[in-house]
């Protein structure tokens, strides 16, 4: 009985710790509804930690999708990084609100999460991302960009060495 209690306590504590870790960055929520017959309805939420962990894992995939994404994002990466860092200072703020006849777009931070809401006649989209996760994404993309540059330099350097050796 005592052994079972110990095991239960251990498992419980581990579960609590794992849950606390998985959710410590918060949750990413995506809700998309198309208001038309047969329109898609996407509703999901994922712990933000899994996105960070997923990006770390993506860097190990041979096709290097993260490096490709980083290359595409390259011109905007410094701005994205600074913006994410600065957003941390404004946990509750309204940045943009556009209202017209057909749409309402709202961008704000609420309790440290970036919220983007687009409510239109034909489509509704709500996105919620913890600001901390944006920082993580920026860091991962920058790492990927750096390693892509390093690999490129290494490849060029090796090629030159081979040419020099053959001469």
């Amino acid at each position: 009985m005592l052994v079972l209690a110990k095991i239960a306590l251990g498992l419980g504590a581990t579960l609590a710790m794992t849950t606390a870790y998985v959710f410590h960055e918060g949750v990413i929520r995506v809700d998309v509804d198309e208001h038309r017959p047969g329109g898609s309805h996407v509703h999901f939420w994922v712990p933000a930690t899994t996105v960070s962990a997923g990006m770390r894992l993506a860097s190990l995939v041979p096709q290097r999708p993260l490096e490709q994404a980083a290359e595409q994002m390259k011109p905007h990466l410094p701005m994205f990084r600074v913006m994410a860092k600065e957003l941390e200072k404004y946990p509750n703020a309204e940045f943009l609100d556009v209202t017209d006849e057909e749409q309402h777009v709202h961008i704000a931070t609420v309790n440290g999460k970036l919220r983007i809401d687009v409510v239109g006649d034909d489509q509704t989209m709500h996105l919620q991302v913890p600001v901390e996760t944006l920082m993580d994404i920026a860091d991962r993309l920058e790492d990927a960009s750096r390693s892509a540059r390093a690999r490129e330099w290494h490849a060029r350097h090796t090629k030159h060495s081979v040419v020099f050796a053959s001469e």
Binding site: L9, A20, H24, L87, K89, N92, D97
Partner: protein, 216 residues
């Protein structure tokens, strides 16, 4: 050591981890202070669609983000202006003359088309332009297809209020460049102020600075 005593470290570890999980939210809440200056832009359309655009940006954030944008003429928080645009005008010399001059009205033009007033008071430059012609054209264009009697034209009025320190900061970058970051810093130091007001037949535009993080 009994079961309860042994469970305490695990419980403590769990609680510590839970606290660690909540810590970022707490630190975030303390990060922004009430003294932060925000630049607000509000555009209200007068047409039937009733478009309203509200933009609120912390000046500190803009100061940090601008140097990270390198596109077209914007580099390192500075905008390059074509020398051709100011070829025959020595902008610096004019502004220097305005800065050192006594407070007063420098330009006052009244015509059938426009009224223009440029004045300086307590280190702030005021530019007020009233465009009568644009309003008349807008009304004529609107009424032409309807074949109705011309409605009353709404004057287009632009009011710009710029602290001289901001102008100095803007021109501090060097020839053919405007230093936006320095201007933002100067604006932030100046405190709450109304910068631009535009009222015409189509839109109301207002740009101002205060310490609130949302448009009223």
């Amino acid at each position: 050591m009994n079961l309860c005593t042994r469970g305490v470290p695990k419980l403590a570890a769990t609680l510590a981890l839970a606290l660690f999980a909540l810590a970022p939210a707490a630190s975030l809440a303390q990060a922004a202070t009430d003294t932060d200056q925000w630049i607000h832009i509000r555009v209200t359309s007068r047409d039937a669609k009733g478009e309203v655009v509200r933009i609120n940006v912390p000046i500190e954030m803009a100061e940090k983000v601008l140097p990270a944008i390198n596109k077209d003429r914007l580099h390192d928080g500075k905008v390059r202006i074509e020398s051709a645009q100011v070829k025959d005008v020595d902008l610096r010399a004019i502004l220097d003359a305005v800065r050192t001059a006594k407070d007063g009205e420098y330009v006052s033009v009244q015509s059938n088309e426009n009224n223009v007033r440029v004045s300086k008071n307590n280190g702030v430059l005021y530019i007020i332009v009233t465009d009568k012609e644009h309003a008349k054209k807008a009304v004529a264009k609107e009424d032409a297809p309807k074949g109705t009697k011309a409605s009353e034209p709404v004057e287009s009025k632009v009011e710009i209020k710029v602290p001289m320190k901001v102008v100095d900061a803007l021109l501090s970058a060097g020839k053919d460049e405007l230093d936006l970051v320095a201007a933002l810093r100067a604006l932030s130091a100046h405190g709450d102020t109304e910068l631009v007001t535009v009222k015409d037949a189509e839109n109301d535009v207002r740009i101002w600075i205060d310490s609130k993080n949302a448009t009223e």
